[in-house]
């Protein structure tokens, strides 16, 4: 638990992730090779973050 968080605090990380995801969605449309790799990493990020957050607090 933390003290009351402001809207900026609440939405800073989600906004950053949304921007990265959007870059990932567009990148593979623009080109092949590296452009595809950017897209895999950027869109893979939400999946990795999900797993990281859930595993971190897993009950033993």
């Amino acid at each position: 638990m933390v003290a009351h968080r402001s809207l900026t605090q609440i939405f800073a990380a989600p906004l950053a992730i949304a921007i990265v995801s959007t870059v990932g969605l567009i990148s593979a449309l623009v080109g092949d090779g590296w452009w595809d790799a950017v897209s895999w990493a950027a869109l893979g990020l939400p999946v990795l973050l999900y797993l990281a957050f859930i595993w971190r607090r897993r009950p033993n």
């Binding site: 638990m1 968080r5 800073a12 092949d32 939400p46 957050f53």
Partner: protein
Amino acid sequence: MTATTKSLRRWGAVHKWTSLICTLFMLLLCITGLPLIFHDEIDDLLHNQVKPAEAPSGTPPANLDHLLANALAQAPGKVPHFLIWDRDEPGAIWVSVGPSIDANPVDNLLIRMDTHTGAYLDSPDVTGRFTYIMLKLHTDMFAGLPGKLFLGLMGILFCVAIISGIVVYAPSMRKLRFGAYRAQRTRVVRWLDVHNLAGILLVAWTLVVGFTGVINTWADLVLKMWQFGQLAEMTAQYKDRGVPSKLTSLNGAVEVARHAVPGMTPSFVAFPGTLFSSKSHYAVFLHGDTPLTSRLLKPALIDAETGALTDSRDMPWYVSTLYVSQPLHFGDYGGMPLKIVWALLDILTIFILVTGVYLWMRRRKAGVSQERAIANAASIDNPVLTS
């Protein structure tokens, strides 16, 4: 009640109702969509196809008139509607034939031909395939255009649910760090955290895939609009003519189109009298060669009597929007790794849907209104709710 609480309750109600109405259909779409991401791989695994003859690079393609004649010899009495270059297999060309030129192309027979020898390969009946059944369930639930438009409406509700979900995410997270997962708490708290975490992480992807899906449900209408708009304009001087009794060379028409639109590759040809062309023209649709421009088609209309070019224009914005929205929905534009990421994101979306329904049921059982639970973050610590 403060104005903020009131407004949050209203957003909570929007989130609840839009989600509840579309959830069942979104589950269907997510589940059927999952195998569709890998439809090529699944088809390869489940169905044997005749392989085209080995052709060293630089082998010239067969004459298309010769190829077409070979295809029609396999389907006596049928007429050609479309000739389609296989996107993924350069060695194969599909010829789509129907009983008459104005028959519904949905029921057409598809004949697969060898690009380089012009020989017949096979004509698989795709309608019994697993991937076809998934595709039908996913696009129109076997209910034709009304089914499609209905799923489009569900897609719009899904998008509204996502946007209202962003709003109600704020009160839920007032006392929690980003990514909080309270593993030691009861299931309703843990699943709320999963719902919030997966929901907010996937916002951009679910909105884009959801909305491009909605756009895809309008494909038939977009085609009609193009037919009555740009296509009618381009062929205005031919509008009173019927289908010519003898068509000029198909191979010649494609050559003329290639020269008219340099740097682009033919994607498919629509024969005179089909939905994609006028009664007097071969419409040769060409595409570019980057991931984006390979989706954007440009038609070249070739007079089917003289073989001369009538007109070639870029598609209007509403058709381009449809074509660009397709890869963004299918996830087929960045190789196998992107498909795998797409599938993982799809599975996480299923988590969001299931946890969402669960939270609604628990709160209903506990007698706490969803709106109140959302508006008042503290309510999640209410023993009635979390016991």
